[in-house]
């Protein structure tokens, strides 16, 4: 992809490292072509190319460089890849280099070296904690400033292109889950695995071994990597052990569930064919060993953020793992032995290490001797008090530190350096322990928070448990794996604990901040300084949780991995209290930023929600249906004919055709989506009596009845028809939208209120295909279609139901009507739905039968004043809807007791009426508010609202609507105004009877 010339990698060591020098890799940073090697991360490749400046800081836009070598990286955030695959805020330290990789720095404009917003740095004192709140909140125009402020302070941005990659989800189960494949995790896996327990070991890296991959430690007298190799060899032989690499546990949830993200293809330019980009693991384990290690902390001193300042362990890692020389003139500043380890490591690789500055006054002879031999100056009892350089470090100032660490000597000395490696100690990675519900406790001997009481089945071990030495890690891991396996009933194993060669440790001396002027960054990602914390304290913030939100400490994408401990300790000092009293903020999932893709997995697009198609769907599709979503169902909204394109005009043409065809001759609509519930048992009638408002005990076999259901609070819940098929067998229909909730409601009543009733119910919605045939010729068409041939008023009267056959197919036929016409509803087994539909269409051809959709159905029901979804809106009572005749006074039923409460019998409640526009043509928008005077002063008194409407009644030749208005039908003849201020529409409407058409119901008889 790019030229393979290797002229730029000036900082690459000539030998060593876990990189493959025979596999060079070309990549681009901010458009500039560069080279690295297989095995590099983006960060190590940038350092190899001597690129120090990789970003601008969040608030002050200060130049920033690569600060760490791992997940905790606060600075080197990149927009990775381009176009639809662009991913903002990725950490360069975690990105495995691949051929053709393109990365862009963020938060700079127009470029890294000339950044316009750097002015914020000069205006620094202004941008203190709470600046934006104090300045912009509460004054008019925040909505105006917000855009610019967010742009200036923004992190990376993405685009709206559809993600071309796919993502998977996976459920995993094991006896023991081990999170982290370092010395602790591997030791635990060995003993747990040998016992026979099902072990799942997950690790976020490409290579197992954790820190041992790049440290120079010895185990059992040989290099640590050899110990890793033999451990992996043994583990891979065990059938009960599964190892998942590039898999990061990011959350520990209730019920001992751990979620992890597997980066299946992030190390490739694009995923392999048929492969996913990432996979979300949901892991259920009996026991979880947390072996997630620890994170090194920086030290807080003036201008501690310049490019060229880096964590000490990171410097070691770049040298050992990537053969990259992070500096030519190195100074190390530490308050613990990690500084010495780094100094010796680098110096032994022939890097010029000038000095170790140790804030402590004492260190053991082992390190002293080593430094002497390597010619590294040792400066004890001192601190780095300031740094120099703009786009890269040029030197540091060193001064002595008083014994209480509160003041510095008046004399400071300058030392030239281009790399300052710092170590403020290590913080155990207690994140997953916190997610599980644990509260970390302060441990003064290591100056860090460690896990405390266990809240689920989580077992922190090794460095994540505060045991930092290698010997402690392998010991805790070995014992923990063995012990947990034994607890789970697996056989005890014989093991020995490996030996290491570590020098004795001189204890850390906590050093939370170094006196001095200038910005001292605590949270380097969010640009939170020591003075911000002081200010927050002065302004009365005491709780660390409030401190966090006020200063944004630890609120960046790194979640304060390098900053929380220092920030909370400084707060404790300001308060003059112990760190354990002040406490720490809780870590919440996710441990690392997670893309939305794997959370959604395959549940996107068509797969987001199930699509339900009726048994007759194919016919609709072939015959010009335009479909509309009705919940999960696809229903024909209307049917276009040959040559008609789907325009608003043609929709009106189709709907008019369908209504007129039905009222004039005969039409058929697919009503398979109605909820259907089969009810059986000796107490079925009594049950219906209790859940419907009207009486059911006297319903004759072979008869159907309209029923109204209320909620327990008296509000109308659902309506439908229920038929009695035999002595103890009923067939209920519900509205399409309430099918599921009515079934659950009935099950609740049967299982919880009245378990003594002998009733069994079952949903049969999908078992029956249903079609309504309506219109004056419906009887003629059906008589031609069915085997019995006789549907006279005597054979099947209004509200009658019959079991018949159609071409030998068993069917239920109901004489019920929603359209107000002579009408029937035919139910057949779903598998025969399409066949029967086609048969009726064929037989009805000479009668000009027409299929109609939900629009025509809705218009005809409004013409008849039937209530539906718009009126059953969860706020209306039976009386509001003119349904009081369905309220039986002779029995008890769900919702009865609260029907007569004050609010329900208020005569001022809005009640159902019909509405027509005065001008006979204005379309009244559903949801419009009804008012007396559209020019009344605000707030305008509301009389009611428009609940549903037909823009055109083909029968009446003008728009009609239903609405609820105070006074209801008493106001018939009055005019009011329907207004929709959002749309700027106001129309005068006349109040009429809600039944617009065939008030006497004569058409029901054909």
């Amino acid at each position: 992809m790019f030229s393979k010339k290797n002229k730029q990698q000036t900082r690459r060591l000539s030998s060593g490292g876990l990189i493959n020098r025979s596999k060079p890799i070309g990549f681009k940073f901010d458009g500039k072509p560069l080279m690295g090697y297989d095995g590099d991360t983006l960060a190590s490749a940038l350092l190899a190319n001597n690129i120090k400046l990789v970003g601008r800081s969040f608030k002050y836009h200060r130049p920033r460089g690569i600060y760490t070598a791992g997940t905790e990286e606060p600075n080197a955030l990149m927009a990775l890849r381009t176009n639809a695959r662009i991913e903002p805020n990725t950490r360069a330290t975690n990105i495995e280099l691949f051929d053709g990789l393109e990365a862009k720095s963020q938060n700079r404009w127009p470029n890294l070296f000339f950044d316009f917003m750097q002015i914020n740095n000069l205006a620094g004192p202004l941008f203190t904690a709470g600046f934006y709140y104090k300045t912009f909140m509460g004054i008019p125009g925040w909505h105006f400033y917000e855009h610019f402020i967010r742009k200036a302070a923004g992190m990376g941005s993405t685009n709206l292109a559809r993600d071309p990659d796919t993502y998977d989800k996976k459920n995993a189960f094991c006896d023991i889950l081990i999170i982290g494949g370092g010395p602790t995790g591997l030791s635990a896996a060995l003993t747990a695995g040998r016992s026979g327990a099902r072990v799942l070991l997950i690790d976020s890296s490409k290579l197992l071994g954790g820190q041992l991959i790049w440290e120079l430690d010895q185990i059992d007298g040989r290099p640590a990597f050899q110990w890793i190799e033999s451990a992996l060899e043994e583990l891979k032989e065990m059938k009960n052990v599964t190892i998942a690499q590039r898999t990061t546990a990011f959350g520990y949830y209730d019920s001992n569930v751990v979620n992890a993200i597997e980066s299946v293809s992030d190390h490739l330019p694009t995923p392999d064919p048929h492969s996913v980009r990432q996979r979300l693991w949901q892991i259920r384990a009996q026991k979880v060993i947390i072996a997630t290690g620890a994170t090194e902390r920086p030290l807080v001193f003036s201008n501690n953020d310049r490019p060229g300042i880096m964590l000490a362990s990171a410097a070691r890692r770049y040298v050992n793992q990537f053969a990259v020389k992070p500096g030519n003139r190195v100074v190390i500043f530490a308050n613990n032995d990690d500084g010495y380890k780094t100094a010796v490591n680098l110096a032994e690789k022939d890097i010029d290490v000038r000095a170790v500055v140790d804030s402590r006054t004492h260190v053991n002879q082992f390190w002293k001797t080593k430094l002497d031999k390597l010619g590294v100056e040792l400066i004890l009892g001192s601190a780095v008090i300031n740094t120099h350089g703009h786009f890269g470090l040029t030197g540091i100032d060193i001064a002595s530190l008083s014994s209480d660490q509160k003041s510095i000597g008046s004399q400071s000395s300058f030392m030239s350096a281009d790399l300052l490696a710092i170590s403020g100690g290590w913080s155990p990675n207690v994140h997953l322990y916190c997610h599980a519900g644990g509260r970390p406790q302060y441990e003064a001997s290591i100056a860090a928070f460690i896990p405390g009481v266990r809240s689920q089945s989580e077992y922190p071990a090794g460095a994540s448990n505060g045991a930092f030495s290698l010997i402690d890690c392998v010991t805790e891991g070995t014992n923990c794996g063995s012990q947990l396996a034994t607890e789970l009933g697996f056989s005890k194993t014989i093991f020995s604990i490996p030996k290491t060669d570590e020098p004795t440790v001189t204890p850390i001396k906590a050093l939370w901040r170094i006196p001095g002027k200038g910005k001292k960054f605590v949270d380097i990602q969010d640009d939170v300084t020591e003075s911000d914390i002081k200010l927050a304290h002065q302004e009365g913030y005491i709780s660390v949780e409030h401190l966090k939100r006020y200063t944004t400490l630890g609120m960046g994408t790194d979640q304060g991995k390098t900053s929380n401990m220092n920030g909370h300790a400084i707060m404790a000092e300001e308060r003059g209290e112990a760190i354990e009293t002040v406490g720490t903020t809780m870590f919440r999932p996710p441990y690392i930023p997670i893309a939305m893709g794997p959370l959604a997995g395959r549940d996107i697009g068509q797969s987001y929600s199930a699509k339900r198609k009726s048994a007759i769907h194919n016919w609709h599709h072939e015959n010009g249906a335009i479909f509309v979503d009705a919940g999960q169902w696809l229903r024909p909204q209307y049917y276009l004919r040959n040559g008609e394109t789907n325009t608003t005009e043609n929709m009106d043409v189709a709907i008019t055709r369908e209504v007129q065809g039905t009222r004039g001759n005969v039409g058929m609509v697919d009503v398979s989506t109605l909820g259907k519930i089969d009810i059986q048992g000796a107490d079925s009638g009594e049950f219906l009596n209790r859940i419907y408002t009207n009486g059911w005990t006297k319903l004759a076999i072979g008869k159907a009845r309209y029923g109204l259901m209320l909620r327990e609070d008296g509000i109308v819940f659902d309506d439908g028809t229920t038929s009695r098929l035999s002595e103890h067998h009923y067939f209920m229909t519900t509205t399409t939208s309430n099918a599921a909730s009515v079934l659950s409601h009935m099950e609740y009543c049967l299982q919880i209120h009245w378990p003594d009733l002998d009733v069994k119910i079952s949903s049969v919605t999908e078992q029956w295909a249903a079609m309504a045939i309506a219109g004056p010729k419906s009887r003629d068409v059906l008589e031609k279609s069915i085997d019995e041939k006789n549907l006279s008023n005597e054979a099947l009267p209004f509200m009658g139901v019959k079991q018949i056959s159609i071409d030998g197919i068993p069917a239920l036929i109901f004489r019920i009507s929603f359209s107000g016409e002579l009408a029937y509803e035919v139910n057949v087994p779903a598998d025969y739905g399409e066949y029967v539909w086609r048969r009726i269409m064929k037989k009805g051809k000479t009668d000009n039968i027409i299929p109609y959709g939900t629009e025509a159905m809705a218009i005809m029901r409004i013409e008849k004043g039937h209530v539906a979804g718009g009126e059953l809106d969860g706020r209306t009572t039976p009386d509001d809807l003119g349904l009081n005749k369905l309220i039986s006074s002779k029995k008890e039923f769900i919702g009865r007791r609260l029907l007569n409460r004050e609010g329900f019998i208020d005569p001022n409640r809005p009640k159902l009426v019909g509405l027509i526009p005065i001008d006979g043509k204005s379309r009244i928008r559903t949801g419009s508010i009804l008012v007396k005077d559209p020019n009344a002063s605000l707030p305008m008194p509301k009389l009611g609202h428009v609940s549903s409407g037909a823009y055109l009644s083909p029968t009446l030749k003008h728009p009609i609507s239903l609405g609820l208005i105070k006074g209801g039908t008493d106001r018939i003849g009055e005019t009011v105004w329907a207004t929709s201020p959002l749309h700027g529409e106001t129309n005068e409407v006349k109040i009429v009877d809600p039944v617009f058409y065939d008030k006497q119901g004569e058409r029901l008889n054909g």
């Binding site: 327990e712 099950e747 919880i752 008890e892």
Partner: protein
């Protein structure tokens, strides 16, 4: 993430269930005799306890049973499950 033991189907993921609500509220046995306060309490008043709570979950994509669940609202731990007629709190306390 929690799992619920359905008395009929065994231990199942909570995604198979619908949360229904407080299981301590009983519908007045004699609806006509119960006074307004009793009805008000039954329909509208729900405690929001911190700790142990008896509630109904319906095994909606399983056997459709209403399952009584004793759950700790702080930890989400499911302490006990049973039939709607079971007094889980009583048996839980008794076992402790």
């Amino acid at each position: 993430m929690i799992r619920i033991k359905c008395p009929y189907c065994g231990l199942r993921d909570h995604s198979e269930f619908n949360y229904i609500g407080d299981a301590t509220k009983l519908r007045p046995v004699n609806p006509e005799v119960a006074n307004d306060d009793e009805w008000f309490d039954y329909i509208y008043v729900r405690d929001n306890p911190r700790g142990v709570h008896q509630e109904y979950w319906q095994h909606i994509t399983g056997c459709r049973s209403y399952v009584k669940v004793l759950r700790n609202t702080v930890t989400h731990e499911v302490l006990k499950t049973g039939l709607p007629s079971d007094d889980l709190l009583f048996s839980y306390e008794a076992e402790k």
